[in-house]
């Protein structure tokens, strides 16, 4: 025995066997206890429950769900809600971050100060507190009767933001797809390297899209634009953006923007000063230096950190549960409470987030490898 313990290789095998056995035993005991509990509660394992109807509604969804919808559809609605608020949040946070980051690297003292104050204020307060704060602001707005009129664009009240929407028919999707394909083909065929032609094609595509939607896109007997109108105690027409969505979106935009602002700043600061001086010595103008040297190099330096930040922000959308935004996590946890199918739902939750995370990091890595300077590792 002593010899085995002294022997390096034998000891290595022994340790590995013990660790492996211990982790297998632990997993096995979890499964057995869970099965005991399930049996005693009379819950059948398996994914059969996905077809049962839920019996509870959610207050926000882009696919149609009612309290009769099956679990599978409810989970899909939650998943889409996570994707929507996540993508909108990432886009918004990137815009905010770009502005704040540029303010912080600009030579103007006052822009520096404003950018720094923004970053330090919103980065140092927990996201969940900000979510709750914005939600409180939105729900303390006046009721629909005293709604704030946003100069014809819509109304803001404690029920959410009511905005006017174009009333489009089912032709829209077809038109949209056709125009997008036509644009891509045209850009490939005629665009080449000339920036002006590319812009021209882009403008033409937007004009074509607008005209097509205007003439064919809506049913002849409905108005072109559906405006929200006050009828009694609530608004009719248009579309409503719920306060839960707005609060979560703004919080993610502001909090994520503060972090992304720092990434943008870091990216610009990482550009070697010598390269900028060399460009100036070669007689490039400031615009040219920014366009060909500074921005491309800065973006390459930002991408890895940006990937991490995107994945992090996407996970942070789960905090929406604090204000009742029915994202994937909230739907899963409500389902666990209602159906008791703990293990299955937890597995679905993990799979859902793994898909989201790997999609983000995969596509960011693809962009990264496309942008990488050729001829370098």
């Amino acid at each position: 025995m002593q010899r085995i313990i002294r022997n390096r290789r034998a000891r290595g095998y022994l340790i590995q066997a013990v660790v492996l056995a211990a982790s297998l035993l632990l997993t096995l005991s979890f499964i057995l206890t869970a099965r005991d509990n399930l049996v005693s509660q009379g819950i059948a394992t398996g994914f059969g429950f996905l077809e049962r109807s839920t019996g509870w509604p959610i207050n926000f969804s882009i696919v149609e769900v009612t309290d009769r919808s099956p679990y599978s559809r409810m989970l899909l609605a939650g998943f889409l809600n996570t994707i929507i608020v996540g993508l909108a949040g990432l886009a918004g946070a990137t815009c905010v971050g770009l502005i704040v980051g540029l303010m912080r690297v600009s030579s103007n003292l006052i822009l520096n100060v404003l950018g720094t104050v923004f970053v330090e204020t919103f980065r140092n307060v927990p996201l969940i507190l900000q979510v709750i704060f914005w939600y409180a602001i939105f729900t303390h707005l006046p009721s629909p009767r005293g709604a704030i009129d946003l100069a014809g664009f819509g109304f803001l009240s404690n029920r959410g933001l009511m905005i006017a929407t174009p009333s489009w028919s089912s032709w829209d999707l077809l038109i949209l797809v056709v125009v997008i394909i036509a644009t891509i083909v045209a850009a490939r065929r005629f665009g080449g390297d000339r920036l002006l032609t590319k812009w021209g094609i882009g403008v033409a595509a937007v004009v074509a899209l607008a005209t097509a939607l205007l003439f064919f896109g809506h049913d002849p007997d409905t108005p072109l634009i559906s405006r929200p109108e006050l009828k009694g105690l609530r608004f009719v027409g248009g579309a409503t953006i719920k306060p839960e969505f707005s609060a979560l979106l703004i919080a993610i935009m502001v909090f994520g923007g503060a972090y992304i602002g720092e990434i943008v700043r870091g990216g610009f600061l990482s550009v070697d000063k010598g390269r900028l001086e060399a460009a100036r010595a070669l007689g490039l103008s400031t615009t040219q230096i920014n366009r060909f040297i500074r921005v491309p190099l800065a973006i390459r330096a930002m991408l890895p950190a940006l990937t991490n930040q995107y994945v992090w922000l996407m996970k942070a959308t789960t905090l929406g549960i604090a204000i009742g935004y029915p994202d994937y996590f909230m739907v899963v946890s409500t389902s666990i409470n209602q159906s008791g199918q703990t293990m299955e739902l937890l597995l679905l939750l993990m799979v859902g987030f793994l898909i989201i995370n790997y999609t983000i990091s995969g596509s960011m890595n693809w962009i990264n490898s496309r942008l990488a300077i050729k001829g370098r590792s």
Binding site: S23, L129, I132
Partner: protein, 361 residues
Amino acid sequence: MTDASVSRPPPLLDSRLEILKKRLFSNWFDGIVTLVAGSALVWIVVSIVDWAFLNAVWSEAEASRCREVSGACWSVIEARGRLVLFGLYPSEQHWRSTLACLVIVLTMILSCLPAMWGLKRLPALWIAGFGTFVILMYGGIFGLSVVTTEQWGGLSLTVFIFAGVFVLGMPMAVGLALARRSKLPVIHWLAAVFIDTVRSLPLLTILFAAAVVVPFVVPHWAQGDKLGRVIVAFAVFYAAYQAEIIRAGIQSIPSGQEEASQALGMSYRAVVFDIILPQAFRNTLPSTINQVVITFKETSIVTIIGFFDVTASASAAVGRGEWGAYYVEIYVFVALIYFVFVFGLSRYGAYLERRTRLHHG
């Protein structure tokens, strides 16, 4: 043209006024930006000062004036501040909660001093600080009455969760980092899968699993109370991130050092604790501080799974009744509490970054 005006070189350093001019009005566009952004800045500062100081009501006695003024109603802090800071902790025992908070804050400040950085000193300090905190909060000895964890709340709960996560998570992180670098394939892969899985999940789902699912899969005798479970789960989450930081620190040490110490016949333990870990920690101090800052902010997530930390008690303080209209004041108050901790820590991190840069050229 005189000789003097030709030969005099431009001054090496611009005068302050010239620097200011360069940074505010370098050309006409810059000047416009300065004017617009400057007036926005002035407007923001003036409205904040106006709201928070000039038109504010300060004491609870004057609370009736709150409806009339346009500024902040700080009376709500006097009326509800204790709820925010102490939660449901018995009010005659609030001094214990205060003292316990101070102990942890003192421990944090002490562990920031370079004199305390040692693989023996630092754990000793934290175990002492944490132990004192638990004795003060829980009681049961020295004639202190017992206050169960269900009654803990407010700032001391936030600080307790943070300290617990740090104290439990750090050793776990060291273990995970070493396991991931192990030459034994089973250990290496188990650690890698564990770390990557935990890192890909949102913290909230892990805490939720600890609060709701663990009672389901763990035998009754091994469950512990809900707060304990949540802190352990949070520590696991922290450890997964911290382990990667430590691993990066270990990788930044030239492998020759490890080989040299093995050649000298040092044991594995001596190599790890005397050669590798001290350097790994020093190299990764800024990112460690950053992770600690994030962890402190994320303690607020326990609000969602039903704990009464400082964020939850803020919501409770304005949730219903007479003070409901003054939610902004309460949230600003709580935001300031977090800000003091987090800003302090991140400034300290920036200082460390400068310091290490100076030492390593």
